[in-house]
Amino acid sequence: MIEVTALTVRFAGVTPIDDVSVVFPGGTCGLIGPNGAGKTTFFNVLSGFVRPAAGTVTAFGENLLKMADYRRARWGLRRTFQTEMAVEQLSIFDNVAMIHEHSGAKRSARRDDVLSAIEFVGLNANPSSKVGRLGARERRLVEVARAVVGRPRVVLLDEPAAGLPDEETGHLSAVIKQIPERYGALVILVDHDMALVSACCETTAVLDFGKLIASGPTAEVLRNEHVIRAYLGTEEEL
């Protein structure tokens, strides 16, 4: 469980996250909102790239904000980025193994853990082939494998389906849904693909202009009129 209390982030003159309090109970949780709502900034707070002006983030009883940024991976925080960040120079195996190396997981289990993560995401490629030679879909899967290897506790997925055609999003959705059960991790999924969010997430929180406008079971949240208004706009605003 992740508890966010009164979180506020300010950049000179802009408040991308404004007094947000929200709870991510477990399983796969969606985080949605129009462009500029503060979703990625929220991920950056969790990763330690952005220091909040106020508020606390407690993950499984521990104060996440107190940890040095690079130590959060060892604690069990994993994330993917909007732009794909698998390391082109390294092989698929090494890409996943390097996360395992810095996760604090047992060295003797590395080979098995890495290969099982690659198998888990359904990547049918030679693990020793360089990531630079893979296509967009396969790179996305390598990133998901990187996100689940080495005892993850919280997995942040930032638009994992961006740029993928529908049938491949279907496969990705099946993989994401299995993460909590298989690895015992809490997943927070940011995406604009509502089909993906409804398929994967039991609960969803919605941000708009840095404020939390709804949170709860996904189906209810997506029917919420504030949410519909945030996405489609209203006549008054026009």
């Binding site: 390391v87 390294l90 090494d94 390097m98």
Partner: protein
């Protein structure tokens, strides 16, 4: 997963065989076929390929551009000379001392790299190279006297200045060439072990993206300084090897621009590959020798060739010659084979 391990082992086996074969040629064939001046040049090739290796680790692996690598070589050379005169330590200890102290200096130079990157880091390291040149032009190399600088009070080197000693069993040029090749091979092995294990993977991740590396749990400060430490250590050891090779090193032979030429040749050879560093050593030392001593050409023409080569690398072949040459050969082979295949078919249609 046996296909993976089979593939990995086959790749490693092929590369190891090529490396051992090259080493055998360097150790046993070249000394018998090459003349004395060639052997001296090959010794320099080995030494400068280690410097290029250091540049390749920093830029090719971590993405930090350092234009002060020949300055670190000079410092290793200076420290080696100083300790050779001051102590009677066995030669391998001189190598380790020179490497160790250069490593500390290199890490200090690398500290700005934690905040700066790209052009700014390049400028800082180039200024460091300039400062080293200034220090040397004032103080020159030690010449066997006392004091921190170990310099004769008159300041001038004389013909009585004893040369820096070589290992007792490698005093002759050919023996010292073999010694140098073996030490350089060990340094290459050290780099290879780093690159193919945890630090190498962490460096590749930093090069790809620093935020992604932090999110992956990589302590960026530690691994960047580690890269500077490794690159400076191997360069310092190479500097000590150079001191004993030239015997009496002189400040005039080390110029700031050497660091730039080295960066150019390292890029032309290929910074992403360990093999590229060897090629860079050949470009940096063998070509000037060929131009000057063998062909009677002005070695300054080389700067034009390096400039053109650098442009070619930056524009079309980021992996350098070591990456591009096999690709070009493969294309050439395909071209020839497709030509052959067309011939019989053409005859067949005639019938």
């Amino acid at each position: 997963m046996s296909p993976l391990s089979a593939y990995l082992q086959r790749g490693v086996a092929v590369r190891a065989t090529v490396a051992v074969a090259l080493l055998a040629v360097a150790l046993f064939v070249l000394p018998h076929t090459a003349g004395a001046d060639w052997i001296t040049t090959f010794t320099s090739v080995a030494i400068y390929s280690v410097v290029a290796l250091g540049f390749g680790i920093l830029y090719g692996r971590v993405g930090m551009i350092s234009l002060g690598q020949v300055a670190l070589l000079t410092i290793g050379c200076w420290i080696g000379t100083r300790f050779a005169y001051a102590t009677s330590l066995p030669f391998p200890f001189l190598l380790l001392l020179a490497g160790g102290i250069t490593c500390v200096i290199g890490v200090l130079v690398g500290l700005p790299a934690l905040r700066l990157s790209g052009l700014y880091l390049a400028l800082i390291t180039l200024m460091f190279a300039g400062a080293t040149t200034v220090f040397l032009s004032v103080n020159d190399f030690p010449s066997g006297n006392n004091g921190f600088l170990g310099k004769a009070s008159t300041g001038a080197l004389t013909t009585s200045t004893p040369p820096v000693r070589r290992p007792s069993w490698a005093v002759a040029d050919v023996a010292y060439y073999r010694y140098t090749v073996i030490v350089c091979a060990i340094l290459f092995l050290l780099a290879l072990v780093h690159v193919s294990t945890k630090p190498g993977r962490a460096w590749a991740t930093i090069r790809e993206s620093e935020p992604a590396a932090i999110a992956a749990g990589v302590n960026i400060t530690l691994y960047k300084l580690w890269a500077f430490a490794l690159a400076s250590f191997v360069t310092g050891v190479a500097g000590c090897l150079l001191a004993a090779q030239v015997g009496v090193p002189r400040a005039i032979t080390f110029q700031t621009q050497d660091s730039l030429t080295l960066a150019a040749t390292a890029l032309i050879g290929g910074i992403f590959s360990i093999w590229g560093a060897i090629l860079a050593g050949v470009f940096n030392q063998l070509l000037p020798f060929l131009f000057q001593a063998q062909w009677g050409l002005n070695p300054n023409f080389l700067l034009i060739i390096f400039g053109a080569g650098l442009l070619q690398v930056l524009l079309t072949a980021p992996g350098g010659l070591v990456d591009q040459f096999p690709k070009d050969m493969a294309s050439l082979a395909r071209l020839i084979f497709s030509g052959f295949r067309k011939l019989p078919r053409a005859r067949g249609t005639e019938k």
